[in-house]
Symmetry: C2
Subunit: 150 residues, 2 copies
Amino acid sequence: MAKKASAQLSEYLAGQGLKSTSQRDKILAVFVEAGRHLSAEELYARIKKVHPGIGYATVYRTLKLLAEAGMAEERRFEDGFTRYEYKTSEGGHHDHLICTRCRAIVEFENERIEALQQDVARNNGFLVQSHKLEIYGLCSACQGKKNKPA
Amino acid sequence: MAKKASAQLSEYLAGQGLKSTSQRDKILAVFVEAGRHLSAEELYARIKKVHPGIGYATVYRTLKLLAEAGMAEERRFEDGFTRYEYKTSEGGHHDHLICTRCRAIVEFENERIEALQQDVARNNGFLVQSHKLEIYGLCSACQGKKNKPA
DNA sequence: TTGAAATTGAAATCCATTTTCAATTTGTTG
DNA sequence: CAACAAATTGAAAATGGATTTCAATTTCAA
């Protein structure tokens, strides 16, 4: 998986007249490895452990690059941080359930909701380009607990 | 309508041990008058024309206050600005269609989508607190036009 | 009327993100 | 392989929307 990802990146870079660098490869590897929904900050923290030389700005820049390459998706939830999600070529569109207490994020897909969105858009004369559905609430683990922790 | 709004604000302020001020009244009046989805910046611009003495920070603070009072709702779309929407006591929840070209915002309500969201949440053990659905696309007026303007 | 507490405007600060810039690296060309 | 133009990097500075600070002013209960 990581190998395919770096190949995909190289291909994109070559096609754009951009250059492959060890930093980009390393950042991508950690990003893919880490799982989903990382903020630049979180990713930088992970990178730093393995590759202390890599700078802050490079992580930000690479994340933006991956988004342009179609390999990552930018997400802005309500906590002020931009998060990036690794986008496998197969993985279809999905939306998010977000726990307001522990910040857990659960992904879901629902075709009926998507279809209804198309209907709504059509009824208003809109041509849909993208959409964003976030459901905020308490996950099952947090429903029993007391009020906000820290 | 504006009268009811200022009465509602006064009531909230009194209940919280906060104070009524002419600035708050004026800001609220312009906010209610202006219609929906104003950023603090936009509201400040409007305020400045009528009440040049009112400061920037006060507009921000008042908007946050109105949100706390339940009289306004904070919305963050993808353009980086926090927008506020005047919330009438009757007006139910609604979502948004947003034109990516001209930034027009159309509101809609769809009970079936809401119901499906509840289903999705329940299936994942979530207790819903709020949600956010934004559909981005081209409005009918913009579909015929060439690429991005400015 | 008085004074403690809240509020204000202006400016300073915050903070995630972006940009600048000199130094370094890449990869193409000869 | 050498040489160079263009891209990239890291560190630090800048950006920009939003928030906070602070001294001065206003509110409102007593």
